[in-house]
């Protein structure tokens, strides 16, 4: 039996795993062999302890204990696997966030770089405008100064011309008063006229010079230069602000890339751990199934078939070790027991419950001679556990299978006890 058991385990692991994994499988197997004492020694120990009980009772105690040990391993393995799965899930979540953030930052950086270029161009243009305005201011100042000088000079010249005209006026008066001959009189008259005309022009020019000086002074070059300077300063400030923002985003992106790489590594590691634990979990569950099949009549309540109004019990029909073909079982009883009471449930308790209609009973005759395994669907309506309590959702239960032998068989083996299975796996009734 023992050889068969380990042989089966070894065969299963060999099939599941690749070369790399087979090493783990063998390690597990050795570990299992150390941690779960052999059935022979366990039975032997139990025999010493329960010396007064029947052989069947001794075997049952051994099986219960073995199954309980494997169940503990399953529980521990489930816990480790759950933890590893949760770690993996959170690591993946963190990675997804990091990837999203990286994409956002990357898009952000592209936009900011474009913005930076546009701002730089605007800044150059503002710089050009400021430079031109500065030059204009200098030229304009020169122009105003030159115009003022010209106005002054023209004024002085005009004064001199007026003075000449006044000289000629006096000369003309004297010449007209005293008759000095026609030549002098004619020339004087001519000079008098041209100087008067020149004086008029000079006065007009003086007026124009004043106008020109005013116009040159009025050009708002100073204001233009001030505004251009302000413009350039704002453009500089904008450019540096955008450049700073772009730099920050670039740094953030670099950090996020590093962060994402770390998280990728984390996910990879968590994934490897979860995978290994998953394999161990499968192995230990398979060993439970195998043990159950071999030693506990394959008694189980498949989790997938537990509903709000019914559940299914699966078991193998009892076949005696040496049988002439006819059935030795009169009936099967299925007892539902609260999980915490699974180690204290005995044949006598199930019997007591059977008297109180607290178990589900059906005859062996229901099944044909060629049937070896049974799927029994059990309706929850009106059902109680062996304590007589109604089943309710969320509470954990196990089932026991009691095999009631025919009287002939009991006489044949000279043992009038019925056989009680070890507890099945734990299940909870689903909420309606």
């Amino acid at each position: 039996m023992e050889l068969l058991f380990y042989g089966f385990l070894y065969y299963k692991h060999w099939n599941w795993r690749t070369n790399k994994r087979s090493v783990i499988a063998i390690c597990m197997l050795i570990d299992f062999a150390i941690n779960v004492p052999s059935l022979a020694s366990r039975t032997c120990r139990c025999t010493n302890f329960y010396i007064m009980n029947s052989y069947k009772e001794n075997l049952r105690t051994g099986v219960t204990s073995t199954l309980a040990d494997i169940e503990k391993m399953i529980t521990a393995s489930n816990a480790s696997l759950d933890a590893a799965t949760a770690t993996l899930r959170f690591a993946k979540g963190a990675l997804a966030q990091a990837v999203e953030q990286e994409q956002k930052l990357s898009a952000d950086l592209a936009g900011k770089n474009e913005l930076l270029e546009l701002a730089a161009r605007a800044c150059y243009l503002a710089g050009d405008a400021m430079q031109t305005a500065g030059q204009q201011k200098a030229y304009s100042a020169q122009s105003a100064s030159n115009s003022a000088v010209a106005a002054a000079n023209v004024q002085v010249a005009a004064n001199a011309v007026v003075r000449l005209a006044s000289d000629l006026g006096s000369i003309n008066s004297i010449v007209i008063a005293d008759d000095y001959g026609s030549a002098i009189a004619q020339l004087t008259g001519q000079v008098y006229e041209t100087t008067n005309d020149t004086a008029l022009s000079a006065e007009k020019a003086s007026m124009k010079a004043m106008e020109a000086s005013i116009a040159a002074a009025e050009v708002p070059s100073g204001a233009i230069a001030d505004i251009a300077l302000r413009l350039k300063n704002i453009a500089d400030e904008l450019l540096s602000s955008i450049a700073e923002g772009t730099g920050k985003t670039a740094t953030a992106l670099a950090n996020e890339v590093a962060n994402r790489q770390t998280l990728e590594k984390n996910v990879h590691q968590a994934d490897a751990v979860a995978k290994d634990l998953g394999l161990e979990n499968e192995a230990v569950k398979a060993s439970y199934e195998f043990t159950c099949k071999q030693l506990n009549m394959g008694l189980s309540v498949p989790a997938g078939q537990v509903k709000s109004d019914s559940f299914t019990v699966v078991f193998d029909l009892y076949r005696p070790a040496f049988s002439g073909g006819e059935s030795v079982v009169s009936e099967y009883r299925i007892a539902i027991v609260k999980e915490e009471k699974k180690f204290v449930t005995s044949t006598s308790r199930v019997w007591a419950a059977a008297q109180a209609k607290g178990v589900i009973t059906f005859s062996d005759a229901e099944f044909g001679a060629d049937v070896t395994s049974v799927n029994k669907s059990i309706q929850l309506a009106g059902l109680t556990d062996i304590d007589g309590d109604k089943l309710f959702a969320g509470r954990r239960y196990v089932v026991f299978l009691q095999v009631v032998f025919t009287d002939d068989y009991k006489k044949q083996i000279n043992n009038f006890e019925d056989m009680l299975s070890a507890p099945s796996n734990t299940f909870s009734v689903a909420k309606p």
């Binding site: 949760a86 115009s147 011309v161 020149t198 007009k204 923002g245």
Partner: protein, 256 residues
């Protein structure tokens, strides 16, 4: 038989407690993993929100700066256009002045030559006719001096008029260049094309606001998750401790 049942019930109780402890321990471990993961998440999100907030402030500041820039460019454009017209008017006046001054100088030189000729004539007549008025002679001599002086001053004035004209003409041409540049800047800043700075600044601002909102909401959600997970952890811890204490008491009671 009674003792047997009582012992069995004690075992049931101990087994039940042990199973409950294992279960509570599992819940506690799971909660702890969740709290640890959420602690990281919350701190990451907080940093992201802080960055998004800073980004939003910068984007708003950039937008305001841009509005100022646009306003300044507009101001510059307007005042440059006005200045340009004024400079053009000044240049035109300056040109007229130069031309008038030239006219004056030409006339003056002609008049001065005539004055000199008159002076020669009167001096010769004086030699022939000593009775000629001395006053006239002296006045003509004075007129010659004044004419010389006037010509000299006019030439100076003419020169400075041309200098003024040259400076004003230069101002005019540089002013036109400035006008063109500020107009180009104005066009660049105010164009509403998608590729322009205007659109880019506004787009960056809108994006910054949107990102801040998203990050803020994510952060709030993460904080809520964290608070819930912490509460769950604390509950699991309390349950675990209580069960452990119960088991210790039960073990002590049965003498284990």
């Amino acid at each position: 038989m009674t003792t047997d049942y009582i012992q069995q019930d004690q075992k049931v109780l101990l087994d039940k407690l042990a199973a409950e402890i294992a279960d509570a321990q599992r819940r506690y471990d799971a909660s702890q993993i969740e709290v640890l993961a959420l602690t990281d998440k919350v701190s990451t999100f907080q940093m992201q929100v802080a960055a998004a907030e800073a980004n939003r402030v910068t984007a708003l500041n950039n937008k305001n700066l841009f509005m100022q820039l646009l306003q300044s460019a507009d101001d510059l454009n307007t005042i440059t256009a006005n200045g340009c017209l004024q400079v053009a008017a000044a240049a035109s006046t300056s040109e007229q002045l130069a031309s008038e001054a030239t006219d004056v100088v030409n006339k003056l030189i002609y008049s001065a030559e005539l004055v000199n000729k008159l002076s020669d004539l009167i001096v010769r007549q004086k030699a022939l006719n000593p009775l000629m008025s001395d006053d006239l002679v002296s006045r003509v001599a004075m007129a010659c001096t004044d004419a010389n002086n006037a010509v000299a001053l006019s030439l100076t004035a003419l020169q400075s008029c041309f200098a003024a004209q040259a400076a004003t003409a230069q101002t005019s041409s540089i002013s036109e260049a400035g006008q063109q540049r500020s107009a180009a800047l104005c066009t660049l800043l105010s164009e509403s094309a998608k590729s322009g700075l205007n659109a880019a600044i506004r787009g960056a601002y809108d994006a910054a606001i949107a990102r801040y909102e998203t990050d803020r909401k994510s952060n709030e959600t993460a904080n809520t998750e964290f608070t819930l997970a912490q509460a769950k952890l604390s509950k699991a811890q309390t349950e675990l401790k209580s069960l452990q204490a119960g088991l210790a008491a039960a073990n002590a009671a049965v003498g284990l």
